[in-house]
């Protein structure tokens, strides 16, 4: 089954390289919803996210011949959309803010974990959207995309310490948001 999907994916990639519309449509159908989520995580505004999605797919189809085939195609696709979102944020000076804060005292309590498990992905998206552009970007890059702080520092043109501290700050805000959300839910249940 997995092999079939890989073969299918390779055929689609080959088709896209040749400019075949059917292959492009298949790739779009396969990745568009997930990439829409990625875009929304970075810019929050749906209309802007839609524009980024569009721009990202145009890049994908016009640069697909540069895909080396060595890594996972899905990861390559995701990087295109993340990069597109970062370019947008950079152009709009959304990443200029930086706040070095001390990396102290953020303990993760077990009850926060259990709360998080109960919250839906859509609610988590809503929590992330409440973060400022800088915090949200660093949190997305580090926690979701899996970049290191060194890589994030290079991508955003900030210091590694700034990346680390912004992540800490973002996480703290999210924890509060999650607990707050859980409290509301809890209150709803017992209302």
């Amino acid at each position: 089954m997995g092999d079939k999907r890989i073969t299918d994916e390779q055929e689609l990639i080959a088709g896209c390289i040749e400019g075949k519309s059917w292959a492009q449509r298949a790739i779009y159908d396969r990745f568009a919803p997930a990439m829409m989520s990625v875009c929304v995580r970075y810019v929050t505004d749906r209309e802007t996210a839609r524009d980024l999605l569009q721009e990202g797919f145009i890049k994908l189809f016009t640069k697909i011949e540069s895909y080396s085939g060595t890594g996972a195609f899905g990861g390559w696709v995701r990087r295109i959309f993340v990069t597109t979102a970062l370019e947008y944020l950079r152009q709009n000076d959304a990443l200029k803010q930086s706040a070095d804060i001390d990396d102290v005292g953020y303990h993760i309590e077990n009850d926060e974990i259990s709360v998080l498990e109960k919250i839906s992905a859509d609610d988590l998206m809503a929590c992330v959207s409440q973060l400022s552009d800088g915090y949200r970007t660093v949190f997305n890059l580090y926690a979701i995309e899996g970049y290191s702080h060194a890589e994030i520092a290079e991508m955003l043109g900030i210091s590694e310490g700034t990346s680390r501290s912004q992540f800490m700050r973002a996480r703290k805000i999210l924890q509060k948001s999650v607990l707050s959300l859980h409290g509301n839910e809890y209150a709803k249940e017992y209302r």
Binding site: I13, A14, I17, E18, G19, S21, Q24, R25, Y28, A32, P33, A34, M36, S37, V40, R41, R50, L53, Q54, E55, F57, I58, F61, T62, E65, Y67, G69, G75, R79, I108, E112, I113, L116, E117, I119, S120, A121, D122, L124, M125, V128, Y142, A143, I144, E145, G146, Y147, S148, H149, A150, E151, R164, R171, L174, Q175
Partner: protein, 434 residues
């Protein structure tokens, strides 16, 4: 991208966040796909147009270079203070007629005039003895140059014109006599004494040996001749006449002030020939018939080089062709960006220019003569090749294609193709698939 290890592992909160959002999806409205398609079309146009411009620019540059080398710049570039530079333009009017007008720019002109008379005499005498078909007798103090009526008719040059040329020739020599004494006493002044002198002079005979290799058969064909000689001292009697007369090309190219006469050998007269493999550059467009087979055509520029040697002579014959191929291409192996294919088909080529560059060594002198002619007719060929292509942008490939061609005998100038009809070649270029 490396997995973050700043804290070695994600904290449990972040990890849970990642698990929940990593594969999260959101609905996308249909309008996005339409916008994407339009965007792709626009980007493709933006990318294709520069490529075509680049291709067109490459063709223009190539054409410019071809015709650039066909003019008289080469000798001028090589001239130095010890160089006799001669350029000549010739209009070949028919197979047996020629008129050459020399434009002589020389830095050693005064000194060279010293030996001009003797050289003219020697040249003309030799020419007379070897080539009875036509002669030019030039009148100087002890050399008489006349023009036969018959030759004048063939050359389409009126007697008046030739007489004027003779008068100018004689006048120049007479006027330069006092300067000769000055030149003998002052070597440095000789080197800096520059002046231009235009004279009508001489003819070249038309021998089969010359006509065949260069195929100058058209009645109104333009030929550009350029000649350059370099020497470190004034020479005595020119030695080129010591060569086997059978080796001599029909024409003796001389001008007032040039101390020796350039003898042009026909390419067929050289004792040694070295044929270089053709080098081609192509711009091709291919239409895919199915996943493996495509039909293609385009433009292919080909450069053919032949080295020629004989005692005291060396020459190169440079031929430039532009062809239109029609080929079938079958992919043998393909990867994402690379493909290996077999190709076969036919091509018709038109010769753009034939440039014959000869160096004649006479003691410590070298006379370089360049003859540039059109190439008549078309070269037809069939070919088979094995190629490799690299997809560098969209549907554009770079390709490299070694192969063999069979060239039909289409009465074309001397080259590897005329030497062996089944000849190897290498073509590289850009291919556009649609």
């Amino acid at each position: 991208m490396q997995k973050n290890t700043d804290n070695n592992t994600h904290d449990a909160f972040s990890e849970l966040y990642r698990q929940k959002l990593e594969n999260h999806t959101l609905p996308v409205d249909d309008g996005v796909w339409d916008a994407i398609q339009k965007g792709i079309a626009v980007r493709k146009r933006r990318r294709i147009i520069p490529l075509w411009w680049m291709s067109a620019a490459a063709v223009l540059v190539l054409s410019f270079l071809i015709f650039r080398f066909s003019d008289n710049e080469l000798p001028k570039q090589l001239a130095d203070n010890k160089t006799i530079e001669r350029t000549a333009e010739k209009i070949v009017s028919g197979k047996q007629a020629a008129e050459i007008t020399f434009e002589n720019t020389t830095e050693n002109k005064v000194a060279e005039k010293q030996s001009a008379q003797n050289e003219i005499q020697n040249s003309v005498r030799s020419n007379q003895s070897e080539r009875n078909t036509k002669n030019i007798h030039q009148h100087t103090d002890d050399v008489h140059v006349n023009t036969k009526d018959e030759l004048a008719d063939k050359l389409k040059i009126s007697d008046k014109e030739i007489n004027i040329a003779d008068d100018i020739q004689q006048k120049n020599i007479e006027e330069d006599a006092p300067k000769t004494l000055l030149a003998e006493n002052n070597e440095e002044k000789r080197d800096t004494n520059k002046e231009e002198n235009k004279n009508a002079f001489e003819t070249i005979q038309n021998e089969p040996g010359w006509e065949d290799p260069l195929k100058t058969k058209n009645t109104n064909e333009w030929v550009v001749l350029a000649s350059l000689g370099s020497g470190r001292s004034s020479s005595g009697s020119p030695q080129f006449l010591n060569a086997s007369n059978s080796d001599l090309y029909t024409g003796l190219l001389r001008a007032p002030g040039i101390k020796t006469a350039a003898t042009i050998l026909a390419p067929a007269d050289f004792s040694s020939r070295k044929f270089h493999a053709p080098i081609s550059f192509g711009l091709r467009a291919g239409k895919k018939l199915n996943d493996r087979v495509s039909l293609e055509s385009g433009l292919v520029y080909t450069y053919l080089l032949t080295d020629l040697e004989s005692p005291n002579y060396a020459a190169t014959l440079n031929l430039h062709y532009l062809g239109i191929p029609l080929n079938a291409k079958v992919n043998v192996w393909t990867s994402r960006q690379w493909s290996v294919y077999a190709s076969g088909g036919a091509m018709v080529e038109k010769g753009l220019r034939s440039i014959f560059v000869q160096e004649q060594y006479m003691g410590n002198q070298t006379i370089r003569t360049t003859a540039s002619t059109n190439i008549d007719g078309f070269q037809w060929s069939v070919n088979a090749a094995l190629g490799v292509a690299y997809n560098f942008a969209g549907t554009f490939d770079f390709y490299f294609e070694p192969g063999f061609s069979y060239y039909f005998d289409n009465d074309q100038p001397l080259s590897i193709r005329s030497d062996r009809q089944f000849a190897p070649g290498v073509e590289a270029g850009v291919r556009f698939a649609f």
